[in-house]
Subunit: 415 residues, 2 copies
Amino acid sequence: MKSFVNYEQNSDFSIHNIPFGVAAFNNEYIACCTRIGDIVIDLATLYDYGFFDEIEGLNENVFEAYTLNEFIELGKPVTNAVRLKIQELLLEDSKIDNDERTLEECFFSLDKVRMMMPLHIPNYTDFYSSIEHATNIGKMFRDPANALLPNWKHLPVGYHGRASSIVVSGTEIIRPKGQTKPADSEKPIFGPSKQLDFELEMAFVVNRHTEMGESISTSEAENAIFGMVLFNDWSARDIQSWEYVPLGPFLGKNFGSSISPWVVTMEALNPFRTSSPQQEPEVLDYLKFSGEQNYDINLEVYLQPENGTENLITQSNYKFMYWNMLQQLAHHTINGCNVEVGDLYASGTISGEDPNSFGSMLEVTWRGQNPIQLNNGQERKFIEDNDTIIMRGFAEKDGIRVGFGEVSGKILPAK
Amino acid sequence: MKSFVNYEQNSDFSIHNIPFGVAAFNNEYIACCTRIGDIVIDLATLYDYGFFDEIEGLNENVFEAYTLNEFIELGKPVTNAVRLKIQELLLEDSKIDNDERTLEECFFSLDKVRMMMPLHIPNYTDFYSSIEHATNIGKMFRDPANALLPNWKHLPVGYHGRASSIVVSGTEIIRPKGQTKPADSEKPIFGPSKQLDFELEMAFVVNRHTEMGESISTSEAENAIFGMVLFNDWSARDIQSWEYVPLGPFLGKNFGSSISPWVVTMEALNPFRTSSPQQEPEVLDYLKFSGEQNYDINLEVYLQPENGTENLITQSNYKFMYWNMLQQLAHHTINGCNVEVGDLYASGTISGEDPNSFGSMLEVTWRGQNPIQLNNGQERKFIEDNDTIIMRGFAEKDGIRVGFGEVSGKILPAK
């Protein structure tokens, strides 16, 4: 497939991608959009021009919206048809190649566009599905000989996170204040977190509602997942470690989480399917699945200090996940918990076996014991004020590249 | 104060109450409402008739809505003025006493009305703020000699719950299925929960938005709390105990929580203020507060088996709470976590010292060791299929009674 839009060979936004997002165009109006190369396309105007007229079930201009929810809710038959239609329109010699009016009104260069939060997220859950991450945490904070807790290999452990503080890439994050209890202090103290961290994650978006009491099986789950985003689950380790027993993470997490502005569809990721790590012991029936249900997605995290350049901190891959998305969604709903369109389900920190693939500062520096050396001569145990964390993700195979762009966030000093 | 509407002396819905809710009237339309005695009043029509014209800041008919959120968001100056105006209109010899049209169009007997979910809840948090409850759980599941964990007296422990599955009183709850690990089994097993429980709680509703990075101090918190509801945090103890380490409760809770249809304002509860249990050790500055910030609210739980009558299971009181609402909200936002209008913050199980005041079956039966004897000759360790749990709450002082009515829910067999 060759598009009439030119883009670099290593662009995340190839003709094979066609992700969805929401943008403010020329600071004048907001609409749903897609992207190819460095061109962002206003889908609302494209709809008005009649290019989606043939698509059954797309009876309203759902792209004239501040979020993708209404579009996503139409379900795969419609959203896939839209994606394929856009792909067709972007090919050389398509209907809109050389259509001056359409190109002028719908095609925008990146500098004319501000990416917005793409979703309204009714509910957000964070899993803990990387065996290497769970093992690292268990070694550090519990028992190195029994790092994994007894339930870990039997179910995808997860918890509810805070939906209100999920923000789009580029939003600055204020360092949280809170209670911590240093090892050498008898009482807890109060102040800005001294152990601010990122967590390298991905998250999937659900495209349907269910009723309470209804479950989504692993075989039904595939149809219920619209796409994925990059996810940075900012974490204040010192606040978290004091508060989290027995009810789990709370203020150590809920001050902010960041997502990429582009939601990449599962259909775009299909060529990059791969098998999962073998699950042993065998899982209960409701967690069984068939086929290759993992995805080979390269993940990178960079730290950019103020007035400095990017430093590669870690390189991981989504394929390391022990529990896959189908299992996560089946588990989440097996008790009848209802889901809503736009719900976000995050993977948990994605670590690999190699220390260079660990998905958090906590793991990379092993609780600060091995600081990271930056290219400006500084070192980091945790994230400092005015540092920017940038996560990137892309899949690549047989000359085809599909990526997420980035999710970035700068840490501002505590108020 | 005497109303022209007659009601029983022990009605929760006296002229001193004036709670807010949402109802379907005659199965024809939905509107925000209030209640006095056994009369439900359609506020949208009352607005249309001009009775709220004098209230500054009430420029739209926010009662023509499916939730109270728009009304609540107007803030205390407006919502208090509306409540006082309703109270005035309900007094003997008021403008509407003997106004046939208004009484006919706006006043409905209970049997013409179906109460709806009163709120859209963007975020839901559950605290763990009863020292007796936390101590009971610690004794049962950890160490009787050190029942409270080290952080408990320093901060109001809490976690994020699932907003999607909060339903209004009367909604049936399906027994959840899930993974459990019986003590005598080597592997986890799958099936309907065998330890289904209620948790007697109350929850408060927030009336404002904050930006990320902003905090609400204890002195600001009072102005940010619109009112309270009764809350039943249904819990599957066997699912919960297997899943909850290390990230907290998840599928053991998120299959359903029930709230009362009536939100009682903090102003109606003002006469019932009382002091809190003394907090020792002294709390950090951001958790300090002044004045009487607890409320004397009697709470009761009844179990009604199929074809049977109600059995009183426990009698507790909101005043037992160790951490108050101002502290909960100040703590929740001290790290900059943003709140949204309609957010619900639940207390955690409210237990007193006496076993007859414990707020869950788990505690009342002490893990099933002391089954409850029902008046039909049956006994209960936990909740059985087709049992209905009814919680009631009211405050009473100097001949004035203000109550919540009830939150009830029947357990249906697992699907």
